[in-house]
């Protein structure tokens, strides 16, 4: 295995346009109050990614194919459709991020968004994305700016650290929604499909399971490490001054203590980098999932002709989202946060399938889930389900009033 494993790629792409925005908003709106959620998410992400990696390595198959082969056809169709919608919203968020970068620099929106969409499509279709991916991954050191900004904003460290382990709760709909969005941007539907397919496609042997584990754990840690500092940075700057974020340029202010006037550029480039990586990885994962489930697979490496459905799906996702983002007065931030929340609504369903598969003797053999993992898995499903339910109840109650 090469140094940069799928866990790291997934972890980095997790901090995509939607991720950066959601973390920024979470910090600006609620200060440190949501950090404990992030702490729990780290474990959920690590455990579910490990399960996906193990399932992929042992079975040699992607999650979509396994669901299709082992569950009723209608159930497969249902979960794949939901996943598609959630992923599509995710890709929409990436282009919203790209459009935000255009706004920061005053570049005509349509020009920047469409040329970025064209660039991503060209990179993937010509087979260059894998090489360019390294550039995006390397540029993700830009995120370290947030770590520095976190320090420079002179946060109340004792409060920040305390908030990691001490849960706090603000009983409002917005707080709950933000918690849900936070989960949805970190533990993603596409990431679950991505990690498994990647390991299966690479033909990693079961002997190397521990290497794979190290990789996904590291990826899970990295994504939440960055998220922590984004929240600390925005909490230390925006929250304490009571600035609510209404557009992406506001989020750049979080970087001012560290970067001063450069903050705008640092934020813009970080966001652009994240959006492009996300647009590539999430869209590839989405198109791959669909073709795998519905049996239209062809080798992605094999070029346009041999796997035309893959590329058609890919292009559809890229350009439909790019065009929607170009609609004037597009409500950027709400859409970003909602796309993450949508993810959280689909997650428990997906994890249910995942857990069932991981307990199958005929698929997993001696690598089946142990009792601890199963309990953790079910707890995750139940809490996600509970959160979603609570949100709907809030929604209904607040509408009735």
């Amino acid at each position: 295995m090469s140094v940069i494993g799928p866990g790291i790629i997934a972890g980095t792409a997790d901090n995509d346009a939607g991720g950066i925005t959601t973390y920024s908003v979470a910090g600006a709106q609620f200060g440190y109050h949501l950090i404990w959620v992030l702490f729990l998410i780290t474990f959920v992400l690590a455990v579910t990614q490990e399960m996906g990696a193990r399932l992929g390595i042992v079975s040699g198959k992607g999650l979509a194919a396994l669901i299709r082969e082992n569950f009723p056809f209608k159930a497969t169709f249902f979960i794949i459709l939901l996943s598609f919608i959630a992923n599509w919203a995710n890709i929409l968020a990436e282009f919203a991020g790209i459009s935000a970068v255009a706004n920061i620099y005053g570049i005509p929106n349509w020009l920047f968004v469409l040329s970025s969409a064209g660039l991503i499509s060209w990179l993937v279709i010509s087979g260059n994305f894998k090489n360019i991916q390294r550039i995006f991954l390397t540029s993700s050191v830009l995120y370290l700016a947030y770590v520095l900004a976190g320090f420079m904003s002179h946060p109340d460290w004792s409060a920040a650290v305390k908030s990691i382990v001490v849960p706090s709760w603000i009983p409002t709909k917005d707080f709950l929604f933000m918690a849900i969005a936070l989960i949805g941007t970190t533990v993603t539907i596409w990431g679950q499909f991505f990690i498994q397919s990647y390991f299966a496609e690479k033909g990693v042997r079961t002997q190397d399971l521990n290497l794979a584990r190290a990789d996904v754990y590291l990826g899970s840690f990295w994504t939440n490490f960055v998220a922590f500092f984004i929240i600390v940075a925005t909490a230390g700057t925006l929250y304490v001054h009571g600035i609510a974020i209404s557009d992406a340029a506001d989020a750049a202010k979080a970087l001012e203590p560290f970067a001063g006037t450069l903050a705008k550029h640092l934020f813009a480039w970080g966001l652009y980098n994240a959006s492009m990586l996300g647009a590539g990885v999430v869209t590839i994962s989405t198109a791959y999932t669909i073709t795998e489930a519905f049996g239209w697979e062809g080798k992605v490496n094999a070029g346009f002709k041999e796997s035309s459905s893959f590329y058609k799906l890919f292009l559809f996702c890229i350009f439909s989202t790019a065009l929607i983002v170009l609609i004037p007065n597009f409500p950027l931030i709400p859409v970003l946060v909602t796309s993450q929340a949508l993810n959280t609504f689909v997650l428990p369903v997906l994890f249910f399938f995942l857990l069932r598969l991981l307990n199958r003797q005929d698929i997993m053999g001696s690598h089946r889930n142990g009792l601890t993992l199963n309990i953790f898995g079910w707890l995750t499903i139940l809490s996600l389900f509970g959160l979603n339910l609570a949100y709907f109840i809030y929604l209904i109650v607040s509408n009735l009033r």
Binding site: R68, K74, K202, G295, A302
Partner: protein, 404 residues
């Protein structure tokens, strides 16, 4: 003629219209090149965990309207355990991948077509179309313009993958395919299944199929195999392909692979490894037929008989003297029309009249020269005219047209 998806889960009743349970699965035996008759139906009874197996002869109606038995349930010879050697259509074929042998590709089964063949109910075809997809969702009415056509693959031309893609059951049709087509199928399958398919072929075929696989997937496949299995394939690969593979692998893996290479092949491999990839030296193979100037045609033909198994496409005999110097070349046609007692040196085309390649020449140069002189293969020699190897036109094509 019904589709399996329409029948599954329907109620099964006996001749007294007593409901026994629901149809869960159907067992068949797969025989290469034949439609498989339905042998047993698997029934799930209400409130019973154990499934029962009823021989298909006991089934009277097997249609969308009704699945029923000929006799009373109590009179049927019921099995309550699974007989060996059968596959289950619902569990093992529906929604699984199958190899479409005629199309040399792998597809996913959306539905199965059942029907009468020579008086027996058989599986006739595999539906891989979007229409089958809609049928499974119960949404065929959506297609009121009839846009989606059913696309059936003949059951006899298909090879199920799950559980049965093993050494003894790979269908004969599959083996008869061209190695490049089998390679296509391997690329379509998951790494594990693809690896199993390659390993199920005999040694020479496995190597030839492997050589046809996309280099990127080759790399993944070889590292997913155990060292012994990898060695089994690499053993029969031609030297130049083996060298290409070794060069593409990370160091610890290429070392592992090299450990299994036999001593005399090793020398050649090492030699080839020392040349740059896109030069005549990197392109050439050291698998060639050679003869001494004083050998007779008869001796040479005998040699070809013995060795032809271990060589890929060989159309020439290269005449090389005791000192290893390149003297000339003889086409097989020339060998055929010459009398057995003639000496090679008397019938060969002399090397001094022939274009030759030098190991450091670039691929562009090589292609240019081979095109100019209409060569199928060209000898590679060093400054002292010592014979090093042969570049064939397909080695060049592979580099120039990598995705074919």
């Amino acid at each position: 003629m019904p589709y399996l998806s329409r029948l599954l889960n329907s109620q099964v009743s006996d001749s007294a219209d007593e409901v026994i349970g629901r149809l869960e699965d159907v067992l068949v035996k797969v025989k290469a090149g034949e439609y498989s008759p339905l042998e047993y139906v698997v029934i799930k009874r209400r409130h019973h965990k154990k499934r029962i197996f009823i021989p298909y002869e006991a089934v009277e109606n097997f249609s969308r309207e009704e699945v029923s038995l000929r006799t009373l349930y109590s009179k049927i010879n019921i099995l309550d355990s699974l007989p060996d050697g059968y596959i289950r259509l619902n569990r093992d074929v529906m929604d699984q991948q199958i190899v479409d042998v005629a199309g040399a590709r792998v597809v996913r089964v959306n539905d199965l077509r059942i029907g009468d063949f020579e008086g027996r109910m058989c599986v006739l075809g595999i539906d891989v179309s979007l229409r089958g997809f809609l049928r499974r969702l119960g949404l065929t009415w959506l297609d009121f313009f009839g846009l989606f056509k059913v696309n059936l693959i003949d059951w006899r031309k298909a090879q199920p993958v799950k559980g049965v893609l093993k050494l003894d059951s790979v269908s004969k049709d599959l083996i008869k395919l061209h190695p490049a087509d089998i390679a296509n199928i391997v690329e379509d399958l998951s790494v594990k299944q693809g690896g199993n398919l390659v390993l199920s072929l005999d040694k020479n075929m496995a190597a030839r199929v492997f050589e046809e696989i996309d280099p990127e997937i080759q790399k993944i496949l070889i590292s997913s195999l155990s060292p012994e299995h990898a060695a089994r394939i690499s053993e029969s690969m031609s030297i130049d392909e083996l060298v290409d593979l070794i060069q593409s692998l990370p160091q610890h893996q290429s070392k592992q692979l090299l450990e299994y290479v036999e001593q005399d092949r090793m020398k050649k491999v090492k030699k080839l490894l020392s040349y740059e990839d896109d030069t005549a030296g990197g392109l050439m193979t050291t698998d060639y037929l050679a003869g001494l100037p004083d050998e007779t045609v008869e001796m040479t033909v005998e040699k070809i008989r013995k060795l032809s198994d271990s060589f890929r496409s060989v159309n020439y005999v290269y005449v090389i003297d005791e000192k290893g110097k390149y003297r000339g070349v003889i086409s097989f046609r020339k060998l055929l029309v010459s009398s057995p007692q003639e000496l090679l040196k008397d019938i060969m085309k002399r090397s001094m009249h022939l274009p030759v390649l030098h190991p450091k020449q670039s691929i562009k140069n090589v292609a240019h020269l081979m095109t100019k002189y209409d060569l199928n293969s060209a000898a590679v020699v060093d400054q002292d005219n010592k014979f090093l190897g042969v570049v064939t036109v397909d080695d060049v094509m592979r580099v120039l047209v990598p995705n074919a």
